[in-house]
Each structure stands twice: as C-alpha cells, then as structure tokens.
C-alpha cells in the first residue's frame, strides 16, 4: 500500500525496501522540473534528513527521507530526463529506494485518503 508524507512524498514498501518519489500534487506545484540531485547509494539517513534536491523553473526544493534507512538504489534516468518527474511522478519518476531500518515506522505515514484530505486542506 502506498503511504504519503506531509512533504508530498509517496512511499511504496515491498518488504523492507521502500521506493520513494514525489506526488502528483508536488510536481504540479513545482512546475517543469529541470534538474534532480540524487543521493549516494549506501548513504544512511534519518527521517526528515534532506536526501535529494529537485529543481524546477520556479524553485529548488528538498526531498526528505520519509523514514530511517539506507539508500539501496537511485533512479539514474532522472539525471538524463528530469521531465519524468512531471510526466510519471508515481511510476518512472521515482527518486530512490531505501532499506528501512524499521518497517513499523510506515504506520506513522498517511494513507491515500488521509493524504488527499491533507492536500484538500492546503487549497
């Protein structure tokens, strides 16, 4: 099941490996993405740490670690084609995968319904 953070990231866990990207709401707010800076594989982060940077024609924004864990893979396609973040934010536009330190932490994130309510509250 896909989970969401208040920083507009989605987290999809398969066992203790989570794939992370930014939501459709986030890519729309950013506008055309022109550059993505990804973390190093094997780097470890705590929840809330700045992991990646996404730059659009309007602004540069940070992508935060949703949970504690170690980076296992990054989406190298974004370096050549950052527009994937706009065209396919929740599929081919994923940012990185991390091995979660504690899968139980996932329960602390929002489910889709809660995230949709959260976004509606921002409008």
């Amino acid at each position: 099941m896909t989970k969401y953070t208040e920083d507009h990231e989605w987290v999809e866990a398969d066992g203790d490996i989570a794939t992370i990207g930014i939501t459709d709401y986030a890519q729309k707010a950013l506008g055309d993405v022109v550059f993505v800076e990804l973390p190093e594989v094997n780097a470890s982060y705590s929840a809330g740490d700045e992991v990646a940077v996404v730059e659009s024609v309007k602004a540069a924004s940070e992508v935060y670690a949703p949970l504690d864990g170690v980076i296992t893979e990054v989406n190298g396609d974004l370096e050549g084609d950052p527009s994937l973040v706009n065209t396919a934010p929740t599929s081919n536009g994923w940012f990185f995968k991390m091995k979660l330190a504690n899968t139980g932490d996932l329960d602390g994130l929002m489910d889709e319904e809660a995230y949709n309510d959260f976004v509606a509250g921002l409008e």
Binding site: D32, V34, F35, E55, V57, K58, A59, P82, S83
Partner: protein, 518 residues
C-alpha cells in the same frame, strides 16, 4: 485624457498605443528602423581578419610545458567600430536602472549617482595598483579608514572588515568568524538556524561552513516565529541568521528579544544586512544585539551592480567577534597608514587576494559624504515611503500578502489572479511590454506566487504614478478575464516568450561552428 502645456497627451492614446509593432513590410536588412537585428559576434567576423596590427611572431620558446593550445581559439577578428557597434546595439536591447524604473525587490536597484563615478575616476583612486608601495597610496588608505568610520558609525558596531566582495562573501566572512570564535573557546556547535523567509544564501553559507541548517517557521504576520526560534535554541546552536528588515519587506519587531535569547544560549547573531537601506540612519544594528552583519555597498550605498559593476560586502563585527575578523586591514600609525597582511593570530585569515573592491569604496563613500548623515536618513525614509505608496496604490486591485505598512519593499502574492489562468510569471512578462523590468517573482517562498516590488528612494512621484498606472491596468485586465496580453507576453520585446524549461533542461552554453560552415 489630459494634455500637457504644449497640447501633447500625457499618456499614450489609442492611436499611438495600438500594440501594432509588426512592420507592414519586411525590410531588406532584417532591421526594423532603429531596432537593429544583431547577429552573434562569431557570425560577424572571421578568424582570418583582425582589427589590430600585430607584429609577425618570430621563433620563441614556450614556457608553459605541454599546456599550449593546439587549436584555434575561434574568436573573430573585428575592427574597433564593429566591436563598438556590436555591443552598443546589444545594449539597446537591454534594460537597466538608467533606462527606467527597476523594481526588482530584494535587489535594491538604486540610481548610481554620477558624482560617485567622477570620484572613482580621480587618478589617485582609479589608477592605483594593490602592489604599489604604501607610501604612494596613503590617500587611498585614508579613504578606506574614512569609509570604515562611516560604516561603524551607521551600524553602531566597533569593527568592520572591508574586503569581502559581495553579500554572500560577507556572510561567509561572518560565519567563518563565528566558527573561529567558537573554536577559540573550545565550543563545538553544529547547528545554524535560518528563518523560512531567508535569502537562499544564508542556509548555503551555513552549510558551506560545515553547519547543519534548521529552518524556523514564519508567523501569520510575516515575521519569524520568536517562540519557535527560542525553542530551537540550545548549546548545539552556533548562530542564528536573520535578515532585518526581512525578505517580506517587514521589520522584525521582536529582534531585540530574539538577540537576547541567542546570546543567553551562547550563540551568535548574524544579521543579513541586505536590506539595511530601509533603516540606515534610523536604527543601529549594534543596538539590536547583532554580532556580525554584511552591508551591500552595491545596494545600500548606490554602487553599480547587476552587470554594471562588482559587488562589495563589508562585514561589521561586535566586540565578541572583532578579534576574528579577516586580514588584510588598514591601521593608522605614527608614520601614516599601514596594512596588516599577516601575523594576526586570532584572525580567521584572508578572504581576498588584495584589499577588496577599491572602486566601490570610493563610490560608497562619495554617496555617504554627498548625502551626509541627514541625507542618508532621508534616503531610507524616502525608500520606505515609496514602497508604501506602491502598496497603498495597488492594494485594492492586487493582493498584499500582509496587513499594515511595509518597509522598503511591497510584497504581493497571486491570490488576485486566482481562477484567471494568469500566473505571476505571465504578469511579470506583461510588465516587460509596459516598458518595465519585472518585479522579483516567486521570492520570498513564504507566500504563493510572490511579487516583490522595491522602488527605492530613486523614483519620483511621477515615475511611480506611471508605474502604478501600468500595474493597475494589468491587474484590472487580468481580473476581468482579458488574458490575451498575458498569454504570450512579452509581445513588444526584442525577444518574445522564451522556453525556460527547455533552456534549463538543454542549455546551449557556447557557440559552436555550424557544420556547413566548416
């Protein structure tokens, strides 16, 4: 329609402002009257020609090892009139403070008084070299001392380092001094706090100096949340960086309270002085508890910038930090002025090869002395008055982000464009058609679709009324659903709407010779 005393209309009429700029026929030259189509300089000349008589090179021995260039540079050789025309033609497509109102918020695009230029061209200032014997540049050193006196007096701070070469360089200088002071007392701290509305250079500086940055939220009224800031203060915090007035154009009214809390936690207070132009002669940062602050001579003290000249960012220090200030610095001795270049053991070291931007020191001091202390105060008052005139004149058609008066810049957001389909970017581009450089857009980040307007003290009421008339016209049209003039704007500019996305994703950074020409 009103007429002036010569019977000419004082505002554009339907006849002479039809928006029709396309000629009815194409010219043979590609030029449009005085709008000259100018190719790239590479396309103008050839590498086979030269505008300079150079002697034939005789045999010589290279002293650069194997590093000599083995291919053509590819620079065209042009005669002087061609070079002059090329850059003059390009300059006529540009926009600067000498062309008109330049309301780029946060950047303080002031008029550069011509008196400053005259002073900077005096041979004793303009023709000197940093390696000259000190006995031959005593006047220049005296000028630096005099400038330091003005800066420390205006800021109420005991010491100043003149050498940093821009605002961000000044920040680096200030935070390095803070780090040096903490290390000197054996106090390893790792966090710097920055408010959400900070200039991007503040967190960048802190990170560059090895600190972890924590963001402090803003309150509803656009000021930093003092309670949240105090809650984040502990013995791991090295410094707090706050801009005052802040990037929303608002004075941080709890600043003294915040400074006391910073000092109680054993941390230092770095103030970003980029907006000092709003308070110079009115408030002394030294009285607010500031430990280090840079001044932008190129903003506050009218020296050219934005392509017109180099920046200069002197940093003032409190008693707690002054021993850690960088070298070199000027000292007055019995036999005249001297420069301390090394041997100061507590100093953080050197930040520049020589002594900083001498030409800017001359211009800034010229501004200070020609205004006098009362004139400097009035310049700050006029800048604030002008910004409030803009805010009050546009408040009913645009959406001001915060209630109440502002300092030196007026902040609007895009709520007034809601559901019109017009964005802040479109609005800014339409301002180009109106003959204005756009205001700062999408900054600060704390409001949505920000538009930050800073008229500075430069603009007369006449200039501002013209500007406000354009802004009101645009805002009214957008709200009425007449969006055609926004969609592809600018229509009247030498270049039309650029594809910013493509430019960022696939930037063309250098000229390459077309294949057919090879």
């Amino acid at each position: 329609m009103s007429m002036n005393s010569q019977g000419r209309p004082t505002a554009p009429t339907a006849d002479n402002d039809t928006g029709e700029m396309t000629p009815v026929f194409e010219s043979f030259s590609g030029h449009q009257g005085l709008r000259i189509a100018e190719p790239l300089v590479f396309e103008l000349g050839t590498t086979q020609t030269t505008g300079v008589d150079v002697e034939e090179i005789e045999d010589f021995e290279l002293s650069v090892g194997g590093l000599e260039r083995d291919s053509e540079i590819g620079c065209p050789g042009l005669a002087e009139p061609d070079v002059v025309r090329h850059f003059t033609r390009l300059s006529r497509r540009n926009y600067g403070i000498d062309m008109g109102v330049f309301p780029l918020g946060s950047c303080t695009m002031k008029h550069n008084p011509r008196l400053n230029e005259k002073m900077a061209r005096l041979p004793g200032f303009g023709d000197i070299h940093p390696l000259q014997p000190l006995s031959t540049v005593q006047g220049a050193l005296e000028l630096m001392t005099e400038l330091s006196h003005w800066i420390t007096t205006l800021t109420g701070m005991p010491a100043v380092a003149l050498s940093p070469k821009a605002g961000a360089h000044g920040e680096l200088c200030g935070v390095m001094a803070i780090r040096a002071a903490l290390e000197a007392r054996g106090d390893a701290r790792e966090i710097v706090l920055c408010p959400e509305s900070a200039h991007g250079t503040n967190p960048a500086t802190a990170a560059f100096c090895g600190y972890k940055v924590k963001s402090i939220p803003a309150k509803e009224n656009g000021r930093v949340d003092a309670e949240a800031l105090k809650a984040a203060l502990d013995d791991t915090v090295a410094a707090v960086m706050i801009t005052n007035p802040n990037t929303c154009g608002l004075f941080e009214d709890e600043i003294k309270d915040i400074a006391d809390a910073i000092h109680a936690a054993g941390a230092f207070f770095y103030c970003d002085g980029a907006n000092f132009n709003a308070i110079m002669g009115k408030v002394r940062p030294g009285d607010l508890g500031v430990d280090a602050m840079h001044l932008n001579l190129h903003k506050t003290f009218s020296t050219p910038h934005g392509g017109g000249g180099p920046g200069s960012g002197p940093v003032v220090f409190s008693d707690a930090l002054k021993d850690f200030a960088p070298m070199p610095y000027v000292v007055a001795g019995a036999d005249g002025f001297d420069i301390v270049e090394d041997g100061d053991d507590t100093s953080l070291g050197r930040l520049t090869a020589y002594h900083g931007q001498m030409g800017m020191y001359v211009r800034a001091l010229s501004y200070m002395m020609s205004h006098g202390s009362d004139g400097i105060r009035q310049a700050a008052e006029d800048a604030v008055l002008n910004a409030n005139y803009v805010l009050a004149s546009l408040g009913d058609v645009m959406s001001a982000s915060f209630d109440g008066p502002c300092m030196h810049e007026a902040l609007f957001d895009d709520r007034f464009l809601k559901d019109t389909g017009v964005t802040t970017l479109d609005f800014a581009k339409a301002m180009i058609d109106e003959g204005y450089h756009p205001m700062t857009m999408y900054f600060p980040l704390v409001v949505h679709g920000a538009m930050l307007v800073e008229p500075t003290e430069t603009e007369s009421k006449y200039n501002m009324d013209q500007f406000i008339r354009s802004m009101r016209g645009l805002a009214t049209e957008a709200r009425a659903g007449k969006t055609a003039r926004f969609e592809g704007a600018p229509y009247h500019a030498p270049w039309k709407r650029l594809d910013e996305t493509q430019a960022a994703r696939q930037p063309v950074l250098r000229y390459t010779v077309p294949e057919a020409a090879e």
